[in-house]
């Protein structure tokens, strides 16, 4: 049923339809509307015996989820930014223990300087944590990714982050076709944990592993994560068949099949990018867009196939590691050995809008061969100069 709904509300409704047993959260903008909505639903007795836990920190939020998941409960939490970093230690732990927790990250910049607005520096900073990371393109996608995330997580016994642009999506009211409970139930079976704390069949979870097996543990985790890449399209297709709409799971390709130039982006900016592509195409530019949904595990094969035959690739970076190149671009580049040049364009940090015109400016510059390997979109050089001269 399609309704005008805030992104956070939409996601909360779908998460509830996934019948989580334990929902725990610590408030942080811009995640708050999601968990507020879940709190209300749990209080209202939906779904079932679900427990909503108000914890004292994000560290506790994920830790409660870890304990719950290990006890065979379907566990969910949500966070953003500083909160994600505060749970960093537990992120690695949940992944290492193979606990299929699903978490929404309402993407937000990391301070200092403190900034509540959207970019991807929070989730990108945790790209090595062992979590699967899926980036929502829009609110419909954000809603649809959650059931897929639960099913994937539980199939491969890995936690999944659904990364949703803070404010831009979480607080945006858009038409969203919300899945019916029966549809979600048809897709998502009850949680059958691979390991569970059970007095009838006791096991030890979280042993200490030394040099003799640690590499093998990591190798097997790597293999398992790659398996998620195989399962994702299958599961997304299953869900799509039930709800009757496509759910991009690895990438969302837009007018790229015959494009000379490919622009890769993650998150809601892909929508703007598509508009820019349309306009550039109208102007005769040979450009296509590729929305990257699955960032972890990284779909090297898909990227390679998508970039094959292109003369140039631009990657929009929503985070920037100081002193290095764009994070996503570096991986795209490594997926394309001997391939076309890859430009990292840092864009939309700390909530700065990524406009069609700016995108078109960048793409046009690239067409002219004037785009450097790393650049900052819409950099206010006046401000930079002022700052420089002040020091």
């Amino acid at each position: 049923m399609c309704e005008q709904i805030e992104g956070s509300q939409a996601m909360a409704r779908v998460v509830a339809a996934c019948r989580p047993d334990v929902v725990c959260a610590y408030p942080i903008s811009p995640q708050t509307h999601i968990v507020e909505a879940l709190a209300a639903m749990v209080r209202a007795g939906r779904p079932g015996r679900a427990q909503f836990v108000n914890v004292e920190s994000e560290m506790a939020a994920l830790s409660v989820a870890i304990g719950a998941s290990a006890t065979g409960a379907r566990a969910y939490t949500a966070t953003a930014s500083q909160g994600l970093l505060y749970m960093a230690e537990a992120l690695y732990n949940a992944a290492g223990l193979g606990l299929p927790i699903v978490m929404t990250v309402a993407n937000r910049a990391i301070g200092a300087p403190i900034n509540i607005w959207n970019d991807h520096s929070d989730s990108i900073s945790q790209r090595d944590s062992g979590w699967i990371q899926l980036y929502a393109l829009d609110n419909q996608h954000a809603a649809d990714l959650h059931p897929v995330a639960f099913r994937l997580a539980e199939e491969v016994s890995l936690p999944v982050m659904v990364c949703v642009d803070g404010f831009v999506l979480t607080h945006a009211v858009e038409p969203v076709d919300l899945a019916e409970q029966a549809q979600v139930d048809a897709f998502l079976p009850p949680f059958a944990p691979r390991q569970v704390l059970d007095p009838d069949d006791p096991i030890t979870i979280g042993a200490m592993v030394g040099p003799e097996a640690f590499t093998e543990v990591r190798f097997l985790a790597h293999e398992n994560a790659k398996r998620a890449l195989d399962r994702l399209p299958v599961l997304a297709a299953d869900y799509a068949a039930i709800v009757g709409r496509t759910v991009p799971a690895i990438v969302d390709s837009y007018r790229s099949e015959d494009a000379e130039m490919l622009v890769i982006a993650m998150g809601s900016v892909v929508g703007t990018l598509k508009d820019a592509v349309d306009e550039l195409r109208d102007d005769g530019a040979d450009v296509g867009a590729l929305g990257l949904v699955a960032y972890r595990p990284f779909p090297f094969e898909t990227i390679r196939a998508a970039a094959a035959g292109r003369s140039r690739v631009i990657v929009l970076e929503r985070a920037q590691p100081a002193g290095s190149t764009g994070v996503v671009g570096a991986e795209v580049r490594s997926a394309l050995p001997g391939g076309p040049p890859v430009h990292s364009v840092v864009a939309g940090l700390g909530g700065r809008p990524v406009t069609r015109s700016s995108l078109k400016t960048v793409i046009t510059a690239a067409q002219r061969g004037e785009l450097p390997e790393l650049s900052f979109m819409d950099l206010d050089t006046g401000l930079v100069e002022a700052a420089r001269s002040a020091t």
């Binding site: 004292e56 506790a60 830790s63 566990a75 200490m208």
Partner: protein
């Protein structure tokens, strides 16, 4: 109060069991069918107090829970010595997540059980003093204030022993650790620091808080049983001497725990709903603290090269204050 026992049998009323005592008057540890939550083959140091405490507590809790117990362990000695791949010494379902989050993980287990409608299985969280009173304290406090259905147990060996004996918020004054060396004008851990975790726990007004040691098993098991008879957040603070960190003989682990009580440096009490409701009074006149301190190399600087009477007096004052505050003086005629 739970600690007053019938003098049913003059030989060994305080012993673990006795062939002549009725089975219900023996401790859980005397039972051939005890859970042995922590079984043989673990790699704890010789004479480890924490290994003892962990088995004592969990076996008693498992018995109270009719075998349906899940344990959550903070990082620390107990976790490391019990679960080096490929061997685990745990015979209860057990999880280790992180150093600072054990109470939260335990809460998660409790909420999962509630969500699943499992009203029989009980949850026990446990950690050392570092994981409890320091890095895990926010987590612990959160679990307390939510009154989650978890019994959390701190095995207090008064320092970070797993990492090589560094100071924690539970390290007592004057004790030498690797980060409070026996050097300078005030050697060892400064006076006036550290936190009284059980009293802070009680300040949350949770249903049950108690202190215990591995030296008086009846007292310890009574307290575990009392805790397990209740629901909500409960806290047990168990003193577990550490031969490595305390510099004591492996055979003296239990003896030192006993002396900690008999000197009144470690008061035994229970608090319900925030109020101290029972104390275990000293059986005899208090032992001078020197007898407790002297066998421990971490206090050697108090005795060599000369006797540091000023510091000994300050420690004695702590014991004296405990006696006054908790009313630990032995009953008349003892």
């Amino acid at each position: 109060m739970t600690t007053q026992r019938l003098k049913f049998y003059q030989v060994g009323s305080f012993a673990v069991g006795n062939r002549l005592a009725a089975p219900d008057q023996r401790t859980v540890q005397a039972r051939p069918d005890r859970a042995n939550a922590l079984t043989s083959g673990h790699r704890a140091c010789r004479g480890c107090g924490e290994a003892l405490g962990a088995r004592f507590v969990q076996d008693a809790a498992a018995r109270a829970a009719e075998g349906r117990l899940i344990s959550v362990n903070a990082t620390g000695c107990l976790e490391v010595f019990s679960t080096p791949f490929p061997e685990t010494a745990w015979q209860v379902p057990w999880i280790h997540s992180l150093f600072g989050n054990a109470p939260s993980v335990a809460s998660g287990v409790a909420y999962a059980l509630r969500a699943k409608g499992d009203t029989r299985t009980r949850v026990l969280g446990q950690g050392g003093d570092g994981g409890t009173v320091d890095i895990g304290f926010a987590s612990l406090s959160g679990m307390f204030e939510r009154n989650d259905d978890v019994l959390f147990v701190c095995y207090d060996n008064q320092g970070y022993m797993n990492t090589g004996v560094q100071r924690s918020g539970a390290t007592p004054p004057a004790a030498r650790t690797a980060t409070t060396p026996a050097l300078g004008p005030t050697p060892g851990n400064p006076f006036g620091q550290g936190k009284d975790a059980p009293r802070i726990a009680a300040a949350h007004r949770i249903p049950y808080v108690a202190t215990a040691t591995i030296a008086d098993l009846h007292d310890l098991e009574d307290k575990v049983a009392a805790a397990m008879a209740l629901h909500g957040a409960r806290y047990l603070h168990v003193l577990v001497p550490c031969p490595l960190g305390w510099g004591s003989a492996s055979a003296e682990t239990v003896k030192l725990a006993r002396l900690a009580v008999d000197t009144a440096l470690f008061p035994l009490y229970e608090a319900r709903g925030g109020e101290v409701t029972a104390v275990t009074r000293l059986r005899r006149q208090p032992v001078p603290v020197e007898q407790y301190l002297r066998p421990q190399k971490r206090y050697r600087h108090l005795f060599e090269p000369g006797i540091d009477t000023a510091t000994l007096d300050r420690i004695q004052l702590i014991a004296d204050a405990n006696i006054a505050e908790y009313g630990l003086a032995p009953e008349e005629g003892s």
